[in-house]
């Protein structure tokens, strides 16, 4: 390429670049970013404070507690029993908590024999504390015994459940007595 041709090419190239730079006086780019957090609740670690006469084990989807001294071994009359269990829990939206007894008392597994003068169910009271709410229920054989809380916002707290049953003088029929307390954090109605 001759020197003249080279000059022409450079001049053309420069003109092209200049033309491109002048396409707009300014440019704006708007860049949005973010994500979606769904309504979620979590019941996380469980803590069972040290307490006498209770054995606890982690069970599928919960915890299992055994009262070691359920009755007086001499006459099978119920001894006072109690336990407390704490769950670390969270809900990131207005929600509800329901704590409900399955059987409405500790009932004799395997059916209820006819036995006058004996107890065949061990009633108890349950106290529930969650997100500034406190409630309780007393079992009386009604399987729907429960505590319901409506919580109008998100909460991170310790969900505490306390169970108590006093001693009494009515002996219990031989066997194993059991109940299940269901704990459910869910959307507010």
């Amino acid at each position: 390429m001759s020197v003249r041709l080279q000059s022409l090419f450079l001049a053309f190239s420069c003109a092209f670049i200049s033309l491109a730079a002048k396409a707009d006086e300014s440019q704006i780019s708007e860049n949005g970013f973010g994500g979606v957090i769904g309504r979620v609740c979590g019941i996380q670690s469980v803590e069972i404070p040290p307490q006498g006469n209770v054995t606890s084990v982690n069970a599928d989807n919960g915890v299992a507690i055994v009262f070691n001294n359920f009755v007086n071994p001499q006459d099978s009359t119920p001894l006072a029993i109690s336990f407390q269990v704490n769950f670390e829990a969270k809900c990131n939206y207005a929600h509800s908590l329901r704590v409900q007894s399955q059987s409405g008392g500790m009932t004799l597994l395997g059916g209820t024999p006819i036995a006058n003068g004996f107890g065949t169910r061990r009633d108890y009271s349950t106290e529930v504390i969650w997100a500034g709410n406190r409630g309780s229920y007393q079992t009386n054989g009604n399987p729907q015994s429960n505590v319901d809380f409506q919580v109008n916002g998100a909460a991170t707290d310790v969900l505490t459940i306390r169970l108590n049953a006093p001693a009494n003088n009515t002996p219990l029929v031989s066997g194993t007595y059991s109940d299940i307390i269901f704990v459910n954090l869910h959307g507010a109605p």
Partner: protein, 205 residues
């Protein structure tokens, strides 16, 4: 910029899966306690008696003692009637169980066996019979009922076998032992006569 958006979304998803599991979550607390097979036998009271009185009353693992006031007529030595009822009120077993009664000797026999009857003598009462019954759980059980004997001063061994009755469930109430000695016009050989009846609720006697 898309990468940033994707990254932000990924972080949100990770947070959701680790700290929060779902829109609702449930757990449960199962709790239980056990009641062993248990029986309680209370201290009895004498709820009826004739020609008999208690000198000691005891419940489980104890010994109650009933003394027959006038076992024989003071003038003729003829056997007098006597009876007593021991009631163990409020006793119970909290499971299907047995009620049992057992005689130690099979009759009221002379404890020291010091006086015998000579051959060819007329009748003497040498062993005093009685009838014992147990009432429990709405049913009466025939207990030992050795006969009065004029020929033997030994207990009736056939009446010393334990008698057990099955109770099909828990029962709480009065355990009642009734004992009756029938009168006999024949004289009784001198001596001190005794018998021991063992009562049991729970396992087989």
């Amino acid at each position: 910029m898309k990468k940033l958006i994707i990254a932000a979304t990924a972080v949100a998803a990770l947070t959701a899966s680790s700290a929060f599991a779902d829109a609702s979550q449930s757990t449960s607390v199962t709790f239980s306690g056990s009641v062993d097979n248990t029986c309680v036998m209370t201290t009895p009271t004498v709820t009826a008696s004739s020609n008999a009185a208690s000198t000691a009353l005891a419940g489980a693992a104890g010994v109650s003692t009933i003394a027959i006031t006038n076992l024989a007529d003071a003038s003729t030595a003829a056997l007098n009637a006597a009876s007593f009822t021991l009631t163990y009120d409020g006793s119970y077993c909290n499971y299907a169980h047995k009620v049992g009664i057992k005689a130690l000797k099979g009759g009221l026999v002379e404890t020291a066996d010091t006086n015998d009857v000579v051959a060819g003598s007329g009748n003497f009462v040498q062993r005093i019979g009685y009838d014992a019954d147990v009432t429990w759980a709405g049913a009466s059980t025939q207990g030992p009922d050795p006969a009065t004997s004029y020929s033997s001063d030994e207990g009736d061994a056939t009446k010393t076998t334990a008698i057990n009755t099955t109770v099909t469930g828990a029962n709480r109430g009065a355990l009642v032992l009734s004992v009756a000695v029938a009168a006999d016009t024949n004289p009784v050989v001198a001596g001190t006569y005794s018998e021991t009846l063992t009562l049991k609720i729970g396992a087989t006697l």
